[in-house]
Amino acid sequence: MEERDYRFIEHERPYTYRDGDLTVTRGSAWSGPGCHLGCGVLLYTNDEGDLVKVEGDPENPFNEGRLCVRCLDLPEMVHNPKRLTHPLRRAKEDRGKDRWERIGWDEALDLIAAELSKVKDEYGPESVIFSCGTGRDIAPYITRLCWSFGSPNFVNIFSGNACYLPRVAGCIATTGAFWVADCAQQFPDRYDNPAWQLPETMFIWGNYPLIANSDGFFGHWVVDLMKRGMKIVMIDPKVTWLSAKAEVHLPVRPGTDAALALAMMNVIVNEDLYDHDFVDRWCYGFEELREHVQPFTPEYAETTTWVPAERIRKAARILAASKPATLQWGVAVDMTKEALPAGQAIMALFQVTGNVEVPGGIIVPPEILNYGGGWGFELLGDEQNEKRLGLDKYSLFRLGFQAAHPNTTIEAMKTGEPYPIKAAWVQTSNFLACMSANSTEVAACFRELDFVAGADLFMTPTIMAFYDVVLPAAMFPERDGVRLGDGAQRAEAINKVCQIGECKSDMEINLALGKRLAPEAWPWDNVEDMFTEMIATSGITFPELREVAPVYLPFEYKKHEKGLLCPDGSPGFYTATGRIELWSTYYKNAGLDPLPVFDEPSPGPIATPELLDEYPLVLCTGARRWPFFHSEHRQAKRLLAMHPDPWIEVHPETCARLGVADGDWVWVENMLGRAKRRVKETPIFDPRIVAADHGWWNPEGDPENLYDIGELCINNLIPWGNGKSGFGGNYKTNLCKVYKVKEGE
């Protein structure tokens, strides 16, 4: 690894110091509980070792002292009486029953290692899958465990990997890199950095960043920039605080983002608004794209997307006129089956208008460790990699992308083809309540396994349904670590300030299991040495990082002109043609359409009109709420009080038609199943749409009723089924009906 010129933050005090009766320790909120961001925090502990208060760290350029409600209320999560505090074992025949027995750490780790080794010896290492939840802190360690064990099947139980990864894979295929909005997050001096420029307009597409805080993007940067004069264009089915302040709001029908983007491209090419110089020098396939978008007129798109044609024209013209324009996109792009072309169509808008690698545009973020790729793939070897589930069907999974294909994995669990799946190791993933499609079907698959073990913060429906052993995982104030993360990476130190029960960090657990299962790949005596190796290019050790974090990488704009995007140092982009491929040679070779196509979301009002009599409403799931991160935080009373019920938002006209009113409990149902929701009457979207919260379970409920997920989990209505590329799944585009819950139900 090359040595790089890193920049450190100077601090007034050491990383831990006294303030009155309390000890204050700087750190990074990475996670769980909570989101991906790793905000700078100050953790206050008393002399008894309790975490008593959390504040934002004003010296951290990322969040500048600000915090959201989840971290402010962190002590209520850390000291929650419902925490798992010691390893538990249960007899296999008692799966689903609340019959756990406390065991010691060595016994638990030995048992897990023995059971996984047994499957390895009998069926091969590929018959063990390794899984974690959303990509927070665990991915590098669990992937290393998976690959050093010899299994190619690191997998998220998530149809079509429908979050972030479709956009990552698509961007890598067409541009050789991933792209983020430039909010000066790569500079320690942020908005004061002389090289940075304020975006003239930010297009916020398919996410509500103020709440979602996804992909390394602190949502309230949008507000920082709006105060400085930046305009926004909002692409979101809903009216929101942001859309009300937008120059234009495009209330797109869920799942039709590709059609909308292609119509905007139609305006940009036909009105000659594109950046000729950039397209001539750096793009490939523009003429094919120009021809391709001709049928996608704004009038066509109005019918398809439900967005007025004139607003589409206006948004396209604003994009072309804004120098620079930037894009903050999100998960809604991924949560339809044909996510890949949608992402391709959206990204092309910012490419042909020359907003690539310019200050205030979209940039390739600096990385210390390839975040999407995991850690230690070389340990796996080609022969085992070829067995990776889905690799033979979906060649995009070969492209710098090392996870197995979730839908193929579930099929393998059902059919035993191409080989049987016999065991699972899962870390901090309550997938039955959250990311899995059709949870009922998935639970049945996992119940068939010989052995399931994992680590988590709390007992969950997923653990209760089928785990045989569960280990208590530490929350971030209870562990040491490094935060690299998504978006523009900076090295943050996570510093342990307290100990709950016998909890150990995921990293300690992975090191201990690694030493048992593949000791040659886990040579470190402790996690501290492991972290030092991970940040080796910085030239500092983990103990040194504690004092100087966050550490920033050097950053330059216009990397394509300087040969910084290609491994051989040649100018251009790391693709077959050396250009941004508007017409993708990679897709062509993979049997996919080289240009961004639009497929009607199916089922849907246009694709399957025959279903509308029974299921007349478009169901969009996954609405983000301030107090929760996915299925987390329902145990914290202060947070739950902010949003105590799982909502379905319904337009007043629709409420009137259905005979339901604000506050009513209703069933949301389709051909796959049903879920209970409480009506929130709201005029913020088209009356044909309803929008449901996700991630709901009831930690106070009966464990043997799986904490009520049978009736609360909206993913009971979500189908498995992915796009042609293997990526993308229908989480935001389904059909449903809504009717009142009867008394006693």
């Binding site: 504040e55 600000r66 915090l67 209320d73 309230h220 507000v223 859309s243 009300a244 202060r638």
Partner: protein, 113 residues
């Protein structure tokens, strides 16, 4: 008489509730009680074409707000001000803040202590 207060630039209040939570945990208030409550106006559409929307928030300070006396005496700012994600709260002497109330629309000056 009041000498200190907050200048609220409510144009930018996003309704994130960080002020409420920061206040509640700082003072150890029971669940549901707070020194500040975020109030919502909207959503509703207005104007001739119905294409404009009112979606707004504003913090209201309650009887339990002591302007974080312990923090300010130690030289700090109230925890709501520190943690506001939109940075739309400013603490200071009313005489100083009053001079800035007209610097932009959609501001409110709250006299508290």
């Amino acid at each position: 008489m009041a000498e200190y207060g907050l200048l609220v630039d409510y144009e930018w209040c996003t309704g994130c509730h960080s002020c409420e939570m920061a206040c509640a945990v700082e003072h150890g208030f029971p669940v549901g009680q707070c020194g500040v409550a975020v109030c919502e106006a909207g959503p509703w559409s207005y104007g001739e074409d119905g294409e404009r929307w009112q979606v707004g928030y504003q913090p209201a300070f309650t009887d339990q707000c002591d302007l974080c006396a312990a923090r300010t005496q130690a030289g700090g700012v109230p925890t709501c001000v520190k943690h506001c994600q939109a940075k739309c709260l400013e603490y200071g002497k009313l005489s100083d803040l009053a001079g800035r109330i007209g610097s932009k629309p959609k501001q409110a000056l709250v006299a508290l202590a």
